[in-house]
Amino acid sequence: NLKTDGSCPACWGATFDLESQRELLLDLAKKSILDKLHLSQRPTLNRPVSRAALKTALQRLRGPQRETLLEHDQRQEYEIISFADTGLSSVNQTRLEFHFSGRTAGGVEVRQTRLMFFVQLPPNATETMNIRVLVLRPYDTNLTLASQYMLQVDTSGWHQLLLGPEVQAACSQGRLTLELVPESQVAHSSLILGGFSHRPFVAAQVRVKGKHRVRRR
């Protein structure tokens, strides 16, 4: 017992008085949760997420197409949904910025990332979407093109794209930038929606890296 420098109550047979020790128990619960989430303190939320966006994202991820990674591993795993910031978008392209700090930036292995976005098409139209992955190279101030994907969009609605290892590396470094460019470039031909319940997001499956063990002689 760190406070009393005595034996732990569990070992000298005392019965715990629940009401008088309630605050202590709640403090222990908080500490346990923060320790196991590898957090030094509870998160302070600076950018609120709407309930509609949250609900939509969770519903999309529960769909039948979801792949399950079946490796048996004891390391703690996380599934992270990151909603996009669309600050630098224009009429001809949509730029999506995702931020992963703390736990995901270093010390973790990003195993799979998926992009989910909503496209509104004119009736009887199809669209080829060019999805570019932009990264910040070391010692460089400008974003450069790391890879790109072409996705055929035939219907209005939610679309999903499984992203490759260069995206996983960007997530591990804390920042991911994607550009969605419709190939047709006709004004208002297709629209990538970003409203409350149509906000684009990335879903990442992350695993804590194994600790490097040093054997002491």
């Binding site: 047979g13 005392a14 019965t15 128990l25 600076n46």
Partner: protein, 116 residues
Amino acid sequence: GIDCQGASRMCCRQEFFVDFREIGWHDWIIQPEGYAMNFCTGQCPLHVAGMPGISASFHTAVLNLLKANTATGTTGGGSCCVPTSRRPLSLLYYDRDSNIVKTDIPDMVVEACGCS
């Protein structure tokens, strides 16, 4: 295992629910609204040390009597009432970037207690 009830002072599991709203964490923890943390409390006489639970059987009673008769006393340490079974807690929460994180935290809910 045994759940604490009545006036028994023997090693048992005490139920204890942590309400996230009560501790002001409901804004960043989306689900669940709380969880049953529980904890172990009570006495562990030497003759039940090492028993995963206090089971009532003739065989167990005989073993306990043998231990009690050959026990050298409880000085210099004793048996502790500790969790013998725990299960994880699934949590859905916001991180500091307002990303939504889902994870299973191991060993958060005490399911049973016994004497070490």
